[in-house]
Symmetry: C2
Subunit: 342 residues, 2 copies
């Protein structure tokens, strides 16, 4: 039951272990015929590299780390992470890199995790998500000189490289669309306010609303959960001068908002238009189906992995802009029923 090692191959082939290593790794130093013979033997006896030995001598872990800084329930209901993971994985597996995930309680624990991973040589690089404004993780990762890619906007990534998309542009397009439909009273229900991308979308929203003269536009900070969205939507729709369109920062909140509207007898889209950010299959399951800002998260993941592998290989990497999220109109948006009197 003992696994074959390069020593076994060397013995069989009648060469040194070094030669086997060179042959197996495609390095110069062995003749073509020897290389072929070695490869054939390795294949035949079912050899595969012992990762630990490789890691110990080559100081490469062949693994990449992704900390998960959210509670179990949120992780489960947010399609984001799993789609990101699939995308990361699709690239990493082509190079036999493993993806190591670990749940952490907060940013402090996440920082400790980076230090530990680095100290243990557990990972060759890391993926950072959910960047905060002035995120303390960035300087730590830089200081450790740990190869890293941020899935997020270049603003705030410091010296690290970000894989990002133009959220601001997508949000502007969304508001323009609502304006074109005739909406003036537009509300935005946000994700966690501390997150950098929330800030960026807030700014974009404020900016476009000012440019279009939408003086009644409002921003409502929330936290991605359906509960909070329900609460906020209920209050919003109960107000004297309720919005005719709401843009939610994820699909869960949009679905919750839709449910509140239905519960209050407010017709969607006749009385209220709803738009979701992130277009999981959920958006097409509810009735009416939700107009959504779509993006290919798995693809972000794939790009992030490519960048990270390049960084690990010693290349300098730059920010990478992925395609801009695009608006996918469905049944939840329409011109407002009553003319705005603003």
């Amino acid at each position: 039951m003992k696994r074959p090692t390069i020593a076994d191959i060397a013995k069989r082939a009648g060469v040194s272990k070094g030669a086997v290593s060179y042959a197996l790794n495609g390095h110069a130093g062995v003749s073509d015929s020897t290389r072929q013979r070695i490869l054939a033997i390795a294949e035949e006896i079912g050899w595969s590299p012992n990762t630990a030995a490789r890691a110990l001598s080559g100081s490469v872990a062949y693994a990449v780390g992704l900390p998960l800084c959210r509670p179990a329930r949120t992780l489960g209901s947010e399609p984001f992470f799993m789609e990101l993971v699939s995308g990361l994985e699709s690239e990493l597996s082509t190079q036999s890199y493993a993806l190591t995930m670990q749940v952490v309680a907060d940013v402090k624990a996440e920082i400790a995790l980076y230090r530990r991973w680095w100290a243990e040589r557990r990972v060759d690089g890391v993926i950072l998500v959910d960047l905060h404004v002035d995120d303390p993780r960035v300087p730590v990762v830089e200081e450790l000189r740990l190869p890293a890619v941020v899935v997020g906007d270049p603003r705030g990534v410091g010296g690290l490289a970000g894989v990002w998309s133009d959220d601001a542009g997508a949000l502007a397009e969304t508001v323009e669309y609502l304006v074109a439909l005739g909406h003036h009273r537009i509300a935005r229900v946000t994700g966690l306010p501390d997150l950098l991308h929330t800030r960026i979308r807030d700014d974009a929203f404020t900016d476009i609303c000012r440019r279009r003269g939408l003086v009644e536009a409002t921003i409502h900070p929330a936290d991605y959960t359906g509960e909070e969205s329900s609460r906020i939507t209920r209050r919003m729709l109960s107000s004297r001068c309720r919005p005719t369109a709401v843009v939610y920062d994820n699909d869960i909140m949009a679905v919750a908002g839709l449910a509140v509207a239905q519960e209050m007898g407010i017709r969607v889209p006749t009385d209220l238009s709803i738009i979701a950010w992130d277009d999981s299959s959920l958006c097409q399951l509810v009735h009416p189906s939700l107009t959504a800002v779509s993006r290919d998260i798995a693809r972000y993941g794939a790009h992030a992995a490519q960048q990270l592998l390049a960084a690990i290989a010693g290349h300098r990497i730059e920010n990478f802009q992925d395609v801009t999220p695009r608006l996918t109109p469905r049944g939840s948006t329409a011109p407002p029923h009553q003319k705005d009197d603003s």
Copy 2:
């Protein structure tokens, strides 16, 4: 920038590397005072073990593997995996075990992955999910003598240990509840028919329906997606003698079914009762909120991790039955509006 090793500690403490190793691992072989001194020095110079070195000499990888055998979109929309991952992680991290995930295309690829992981000594054990009837993965993992825990029913786990819950009992309870409400025409829309737990729930459904004399009960094979559920539900609700209650095998399908009913002008719960299996936050977001069969998936994960760590430590492990999923009645179930004429 070089990381401290046990050799550094040994030099500082004036002892051998062996002594340091014993002290650090809590083994006998060093005096208490020496141990304290060594621990203090390790702490002071910020030592942490090099995982690769540990793995190479101790032949322990300090990692556990979880293959993901579903496409990206499904992974994203199914809360199951992420909740399972959080649960696994919560236990693994207490023992500094990492969780390694890899996406695979099919069962064949998954089997190859087990062989590779084992050959590379990448993981010390694995978690199997989504067991099929006569699952070919089981004999392979057994043959490799790879410590493993199946998240699933003991039937079909062969010599492996399963962490499971009484799905059959939960399903029977669900049907009994519907019968008590006065339903006779009950339909079940299933997950993938090849999965073992689908089969088990099917059998339980058939059994309880026969015992209760529900001759018009029907089973409709589906695949967990909203699309398929919509199609099936639409056909079902268009039939002459449509069911008055439908039990779906996950929450996504239940939400899709609800949307179809609404689109067809069929009132829920007045004209149709709907029950979801698995109770993610989704069930409380839609209107009406969905009656659901709830279970704590993160907890399954935690238990599975505990079992697996025990197996890795060399203990014999047995099947572990977790709490039975429980019915959580909400707004989507009620007595049928019209008396059944059956």
